[in-house]
Every structure is written in C-alpha cells, then in structure tokens.
Point group: C2
C-alpha cells in the first residue's frame, strides 16, 4: 500500500514543487506588523490545500494575533489512533536582506537545495505532510489513521495565543500523539530522532544616560556613557569561560547522566568550520560543543546597539544603549523564574549614573524530553531507516518549539519530532535552504510512519 | 571709533540675521558624501560675502577633500599686526533627525535662541567675525589690523587636508597671532578665556564570529557570540571608576598642578542635570567632573552595534559586532602613540573564538595650552568684560580643535580662543542652538578686540 502512495508522490513531484513555491512566495513574517496581510494569505493557502485534499473540517480560526488553521479527518474510525499534526506557516524576518543571493520570497533551486525563507523552517516540512495526506487520499481514498491538523502563524514569535487555545479547547485538539516536522537531522541523509528540546525565555533592556547625545569632548568625564555601562553589564552576565554568572541560573538544571554523555558521544559531530564559518568552537567550561548545544542552558545576546552607526566618525556620548537577549533552558529550569533571576542580576549590577529599563519577553517555554524507547518513537526510527537507508541517531536539540512542551504538559501525549532539516539550512539567517533529498525521502518517511502508526504498540 | 562700528551692527541686525539664516540653510555635512555639493555651496557663500566686504584676495582653494576659503586684507600696513582668523563652514551630521523640533537646516528663533545645525558650531560664530569686518569697512573704510581669513570645510572630520596646507604654505598663512571662535563660555553671559584644548585620537573595531548570523538555539554553546565578546572587550578598556585600563595610557599625562586645581575651582560648575539630563555626574576616581572634563584624558564609546535591532525578537547569534571609540588627550600625550596602545590592548584582550579587525582613525590632534597671562589673552579678557559687563574666567576645554595645536607647533604664534557658545547649545546633538545674546554681545566683543589688537603688548 505504501508503495502506491510513494509512487503517487514521485509522479507528482513537479506539481508539488510548484505548489510549494507558491506557498514560499508569501512573505508571512509574523514578527513584523508590515506583513500582517501576508500572514493571513499564507493561512488561507494552507486551508485551501487542506480542503482540496479532502479534510472534512477546515477552519481558519481568528485569534488575538495571527490566524490558526485547523482541520480534521476522522474517517479511520474509533478503532484507529488519532494523530495531531502541528506545524507553522509563519517565517523569520529576512534581514540583512543584502546578504541573500536570491530574493528570500522568490524560491530558487541551486545544487539540489531549494532556497527561500521558510523552505526548511517550516513551510517545506509542513507541505511534505500535506502532500503525503493528498497522496494517501488520491491513491487509497482515505488516510491510514485519524488526523487533526493544527497549523499556526506565530511560532517564530513564541506562539503566544496558541497556548490559551490548546489549554481551553482540549476536545478540539485531543489526540493519541502529536507529530511535528520543524527540526533537523544532524547531517544530510542521517535519520535523527529528536527526543528533547530546550526551553526559552528572554528580555530587552535599555540603559539611558544623558537625555540626548552629547559632545564627547565637552561632556566626557562628567557623565556615565551608557554604551560603556552596557558593556560592563552585559559582560557581567557570562564570563570568558561561557559560564553564565546570573545567581541561581544553574540551580535547577537536571545534571547530565553518564548514559546521556554516551548517547551524545554517538551523535556525529557537526563541522562548525563548514556550517558556521568559525575557526574554533567555544563552549561552557567542562563541556564539549555537542554537550553544551544539546544539554546545557545558554544565554545569548541577539542584538546590542547604541550611538552612532553611520559612515565615519561622530564624537558623541550616546544617550542610550539597548540589548536584546534570550536564554535556552534545559529540563528543571522554570522560564519565568529564570527571567526574574535575569532581572534581579541586571538591577544589581548596573553601574551608577544610568537608568535601567527592562522589557520582559512575554513568550517563554519549558524544556521538553520524551522517552526514546516509546513505541511511537521506535516506529519513527524504523520509518526513517526504510526511507533513508541508514540507522537513526538519538539527539536532544538546542532549539525550542514551545508548543511541544505545552502539548506534553496539557495533553500528556507523546510528541514525535520527525525533522528533515540539515545543518546547512541556515535557519534564521540569509540564504535559508532545504535539500530536495530531504523533501523526497522525508515524504517517504512520513508515508511509512503514518501507515505504521495504525496501532500504538 | 568702536561705538560707530557697534552702532552699525545694531542698525543692521535684521539684515545680518537674514544672511546668517541663508548660511545655516546649506546642509554642509562634511562627513557624509551625500552632501558633497552642499559643502561646496557653503564655501562659495563665505567667499562671496568676503568679496562683498572688500577683502583684496578671496579664493576658494581646492584640496584633496572639501574646499578651503582663503582671503586677506593687508591694508593696515607693515606697522600693524596681522591676525589669522580661522573658522569652519562644515557641520556635524543631524541624526537622529526625528528628535529635532524644527528642521536642522531651516533656522528658527525660539525664546532668544537660533535653532539650526551649525548655529553655534561653527557658522554662527564665523558669521560674527565677517559681520564685524563688514562693520569696520562700512564705517571706517578699513580694518584696524591686517586680517588673513582661513575658513575650512573639514573640521568636523578632523581637518585632514588643512594640516598639509598649513605646513607647506607658511607664507600665505603666517601672522602674528590667530583668532578662533569655535568654543563656548562656561555659562550664558559669562566671558570665558579658553587657554587649553584636548587632543584627539580614535579607532573603529569589529569582532567577527560565525560567517553569518546563526540560529541561537542550534548554535548557542558551540560558538563565541561576538556581541558578548565585544562587551568583555569594551569593558576591559575602562573600569567602573572611569579609570582607563589601557596599559601606558596615563604615562605621559602632565599632572594637574595645585595652581590649576585652583583655577578650575573658580570656574562656575555646570548644572549637568539641566544641560545633560543626568541625575548624577560620574568621573575618574579622584577627580571632580570639572577637573576630568577640563584636564584629564577620556575614552568614550561613540557607537556600539551588532545583531538584530528591529521590532520584537530575533533569536540569532550575530555574525559581527562593531564599536567606534575616540579619546580626548591632555598635554604630554602623543596621539599616534595612544592609538598604538589602544590597538595593543585590543589585540591582547580579545577573547578566543572571534576575529578582531581594527580601522585606525587617521585624524588626530595633540592637546594645546597657551599662557593665560599673554598680552593678547589679556586683551581678549578686557574686550569680553566691556561687552558682557562681567569678569572673565579662565578654563581648559574638553573638546579638541586640531588646527589650534597645528598652528601652535608650525607657526609658534599665540592662538586666541574667543568663543561665544553656551552649555545649552547642544553641539553635535539634535536641536543645536545659539543665543542671540551671544550673537550680539559677541560681535561687540570682537569689535573691541580687533581695535585693541592694533599693538601686541
């Protein structure tokens, strides 16, 4: 049965790529109010496709923010399991635009990769599931199990409204397990079972010195320079050994077990010189890059700015300096508590002579971990191996997908993370791309998986 | 004689203000290549006015950069001294433009102040001298002494080409003393003899980590974040007590004498809450704000930037972080040497995992000091007191005017700094302004001064 479905996908490859390009062309940047209408257009695209495929219920649900696309096909009956397929149709911003080789919303294939913002994160991967549903419906006239679809438009900005919806509409979204493709393999063509994700919290803070920029000759020596004060404040957050110095930050961190250290060792290392262009890796004292990215918390400055940025010289003491920072958390750490520790640290360490103003990032997530031996996880490994011809490795990822932890805590169902991205995809950066190899073998994997998931043992 | 000249100025006040507004309307921003033609237009304005006034020689001299306006009137004869009047017609950039209440190049008078970029620094003050020359010529038919005029277009970007010109064309520019109005009084209406200026050096440096922005979840823990590395590097330059930590920075500084400490004490303090909007002053450990701004070297961050600056959150590790910094120097410190010390410090303290790239600011200046008891300085004090009705105070300023030190070292003539700005002028900032009181009483001061300077004792 799966062979016919897979053949359908092969026969319709060009058509599907053309449709995916349509999807990718919509600049659904959730963080930027300028693109509000584009986001709605992307939601409508997804809903229209689901209707075409034959889902019984298809709704574009209004939220306090961007719309949520919900659909369900319950035609497999009560004896078969129900899967909740989650994805997102919104994408990251594209700056700095001048570094893109082709336009971010004009998809282009180069050397076996599809280049566009969202090709990997997450439109390419969402589309794969929809194409697989279409393939089942067209060849078998039905899906192998019951499917509920939940595709939102706010994942890149923290899924703020989704949490409320998931919490209050349990009947609508309840299922036996969830499936998500919004992550990656450790290397192209290397099946990867993702059994853990990091949590997330953040904030933005500004130091204000003088009420406006000052002549640095006349006022240098009289006032505290907010850029210098900011340097001291930021440097106090993390030392040169990459150890976070915020009091209490590590208190609740679940320590790494020897078993975990071993699992991590078995994961092929990433060649950071190739993928990140760095000459050396730098990690928390006592941990390798693999260990730190997968299983230790982080604190990163995402943006830092104050004063003159233009051509040449401008001899001023800036009025303000601002920093945006985010932390990735591990099991044990509570996001709101960590955010409060950050606030306390900043208030304690800010130098006299400037005023501190903090904007707490309202969106957060706890870390997530599932038992790698769960039957549904094993079925995923088998499906991957069939499609890619290679045994799967088991990893915990440094990124966060907030909805995973919410589904875990609200629904108490396993979340199966079947990702097909690769380290070279350049998520969140210019020149994002997705390998066509992942697109094709990934859809095969999904065909096997949905067919296998007809029983939960 | 001086009464008639002063009366002429009073009778022509409106006409002169209208002409000054014309001058101020030209956006002669020297640092920005976009305004290259405007800079030429401003040079031509000055030359045209000098011709109208009756200067014998008026030239707009091409340089490797912006034009230099030169003029001379030698009609006083060999028995009378020759003064070199120096000024600049270029202005600072206007960003952030949105903070201006009226447009920077549309002069407006509000509450006794003339608002426009350049009204104080330096067009308003240059214009005062030209109007005074016009007044002498129109009422007396001659100037009291020989005058050479040198008005350049690169002061705000370090006067790079002027130094070569002054060095090689000594016959053209030689005089008995120089007069400059490009500085301020310690308070509105308080005659101020400026007998010292600080020197200047600077550089820009960039730290590069990964070759492009990275997903902070996936790569956090594997690479050094250049923004964090920059915070550590900048914080290493100056401690929380405002002491510069660059090795050797203070080695050659001429220490403050007790006599100087006393002179400084007598200068009325600036109310920094009013003029700078700060709640407390912050200065080098062991020095007051007055002492530090006037007589100690400084190191200031003028701009610091890296990563995401837009709306909302962007979870990246930035590829780069950049800082622009400048230092003000005091007598004893040699600018190129200090610049080398800065470079050495940065190379020594940069954290592993990022690459350091330094752009040395080519423009620099030594500090300047003249004997406050020099006869020409005393004449300045007397002229001030006649016009303003108050005794003068003697100060050293935190700002730098590179040409002053060059004239001192190349021509060995006294430089008389007759400034009429006030602390509320907001030089280099939005809403720059110049008090009409300074404009009027300042021109009176100049009439007395040029009349007094007919002998050098």
């Amino acid at each position: 049965m799966t062979e016919r479905v897979i053949q359908y996908l092969k026969d319709n490859k060009e058509k599907h790529l053309a449709k995916l390009n349509e999807f990718l062309s919509i600049p659904s940047v959730s963080t930027d109010s300028v693109h509000k209408q584009d986001v709605v257009e992307a939601a409508n695209f997804v809903a229209a496709y689901l209707e075409e495929i034959g889902f019984e219920t298809v709704e574009v649900q209004k939220t306090k923010g961007h719309p949520l696309v919900f659909a369900e096909w319950m035609g497999a009956g009560k004896d078969k399991p129900t899967a909740l397929f989650y994805g997102h149709y919104d994408v990251q911003p594209t700056d700095p635009v001048e570094l893109w080789k082709s336009e971010p919303f004009k998809p282009e294939v180069r050397e076996g990769r599809l280049y566009a913002r969202g090709s990997s994160d997450d439109k390419g991967q969402v589309f794969m599931h929809l194409a697989v549903f279409e393939a089942f419906m067209k060849t078998e006239g039905k899906l192998p199990i019951n499917i509920k679809v939940c595709i939102e438009g706010e994942e890149e900005i923290g899924s703020e409204n989704l949490y409320e919806i998931l919490k209050t509409k349990k009947e609508q979204f309840n299922a036996d397990f969830a499936v998500i493709s919004d992550s990656g393999m450790v290397a192209k063509g290397q099946p990867t079972i993702l059994y853990g994700l990091k949590g997330f919290t953040g904030l933005e803070f500004t130091l204000t010195g003088p009420s406006s920029d000052l002549h640095s000759g006349i006022y240098g020596g009289a006032v505290r320079n907010p850029a210098m004060a900011m340097a001291h404040l930021v440097a106090s957050l993390k030392d040169e050994n990459e150890v976070v110095k915020v009091a209490g930050f590590y208190d609740d961190v679940e320590p790494m077990t020897d078993e975990e250290r071993q699992l991590i060792k078995e994961v092929p290392g990433e060649n950071y010189t190739e993928t990140a262009g760095v000459t050396e890796t730098v990690s928390e004292q006592g941990y390798t890059a693999k260990e730190h990215t997968m299983a230790r918390p982080t604190l990163e400055i995402n943006g830092m700015f104050g004063g003159y940025q233009g051509e040449g010289t401008k001899t001023i003491i800036p009025s303000t300096a601002t920093v945006k920072l985010t932390c990735r958390l591990v099991p044990g750490q509570e996001p709101n508590h960590i955010q409060e520790l950050l606030v306390k640290h900043l208030e304690k360490h800010v130098l006299p002579g400037v005023t501190l103003n903090i904007k707490r990032e309202p969106l957060s997530a706890k870390a997530y971990k599932v038992d790698p031996n769960h039957p549904l996880i094993e079925k995923a490994a088998v499906s991957y191996e069939k499609a890619f011809g290679k045994e799967a490795v088991y990893v915990r990822m440094g990124g966060s997908i907030p909805v995973v932890e919410w589904i875990d805590s609200e629904y108490k169902i396993p979340v199966v993370l079947l990702g097909f991205g690769t380290p070279e995809d350049r998520l969140h950066s210019p020149n994002e791309s997705f390998p066509l190899d992942s697109f094709e073998k990934g859809m095969e994997t999904l065909v096997y998986y949905y067919a296998e998931a007809t029983n939960l043992e």
